[in-house]
Symmetry: C2
Subunit: 217 residues, 2 copies
């Protein structure tokens, strides 16, 4: 298996500066995936709510099961809110939350089903059916919101922002702290801001190659 060709499936990807096998230019592939790094430290530059909204308005179009789009964002911005969040992060992640211009708690809305009549009118009856199935709803919400978390991280980068996703936290405590009334379940925290260079001093870690990560039948 090789991918170092610029012609695949009869298409010449060298036209317009596209990388091998890709339909986007190399600088886009670099921005979104190849050069992007998980940021641990940020410049003091602010990130406005409008920038976060622009990212959301891009990635909301990504597909989810039955168009349920259960991802929700808690935008943590004020010094007081940051302290409340940092208290529930694992020790190594507290300073990262306190040092970022803004942190997002990505959450799954277990009450997503109430929007089904709007989001998937042909399945409107499912809203009532799911009302009495909280476990099924939580499973659907988590699965689809995690897929959307992938879209969101790519979307932040597409907006020229650096993302620092972190799973080390007391999710139940965060839910009690912020989501006691709305039924959101926290999935991960993403620090967002601007960085100098790649925003990290660590050498890039290895990844598994395609042959290690796939089987063909």
């Amino acid at each position: 298996m090789t991918t170092d060709t610029t012609v695949l499936d009869g298409l010449d990807f060298t036209a317009f500066g596209r990388g091998p096998g890709l339909a986007v230019a190399d600088d886009v592939a670099d921005l979104l995936f190849r050069e992007a790094r998980t940021a641990a430290a940020f410049t003091p530059d602010e990130v406005s709510d409008e920038r976060i909204a622009a990212v959301y308005d891009l990635v909301k179009w990504g597909p989810t099961a039955l168009n349920t789009v259960p991802l929700r964002l808690l935008v943590v911005r004020t010094p007081e809110a940051r302290q409340r969040l940092a208290a529930h992060m694992s020790e190594g992640n507290r300073e990262r939350v306190l040092g970022a211009p803004v942190s997002l708690v990505l959450a799954a809305d277990t009450g997503f089903h109430t929007h089904i009549p709007t989001l998937a009118p042909h399945m409107a009856a499912l809203a009532d059916a799911l009302e009495g199935q909280p476990e099924q709803r939580e499973s659907m919400a988590r699965t689809n919101a995690l897929i959307q978390a992938g879209y969101l991280i790519v979307g932040l980068r597409a907006a020229g922002l650096a993302a620092g996703p972190m799973g080390g936290m007391d999710a139940d405590a965060i839910d009690q702290e912020f989501f006691a009334e709305n039924g959101w379940k926290s999935l991960l925290v993403v620090n967002v801001g601007h960085v100098e260079g790649t925003g990290t001093h660590r050498a890039r870690a290895e990844r598994l190659g395609y042959a290690q990560a796939s089987l063909t039948v």
Copy 2:
């Protein structure tokens, strides 16, 4: 809250054809999110293993917890393998699998921990610690592989391919059929190929707006 400005945070995004609040050009935002649709029918054009590998080699760089990268791909290509997969899809999804040039079963590798010494050398001891914690491993694998599923769907589009993700399937039966020996857990199936136009006849469904999907503190 409005995002219909082309100047945010003092940056003018109209330069170089970038959309409001974005660092990528409008055609890229359209390709990856805004115009892309879940494809239900494909042209007969083939999708080579090299194309799939190029997508993997792009999205493998996306962040996961401890760089565990637990997403695995089963590439379902032969007529016999398609029939085996289609038998475990929900009724409405069978013809979609049989009609796609290639289908990917996205799976979470519960044995991901054996790669930690390579992928996160500073955490190498975790490989042994996780050996006796199968439930913890499955949870970590599922969470991070779902985030990677989001990256992969964007990556397929970045390669100019149409994606048709589907969750309607008997996941346990697929695991028994294909993954009895390697411990992979199927998450969703994504049909991959080329489409005429957007690949769907349905009008685009609504999405929740930023104000409905977020809170700021």
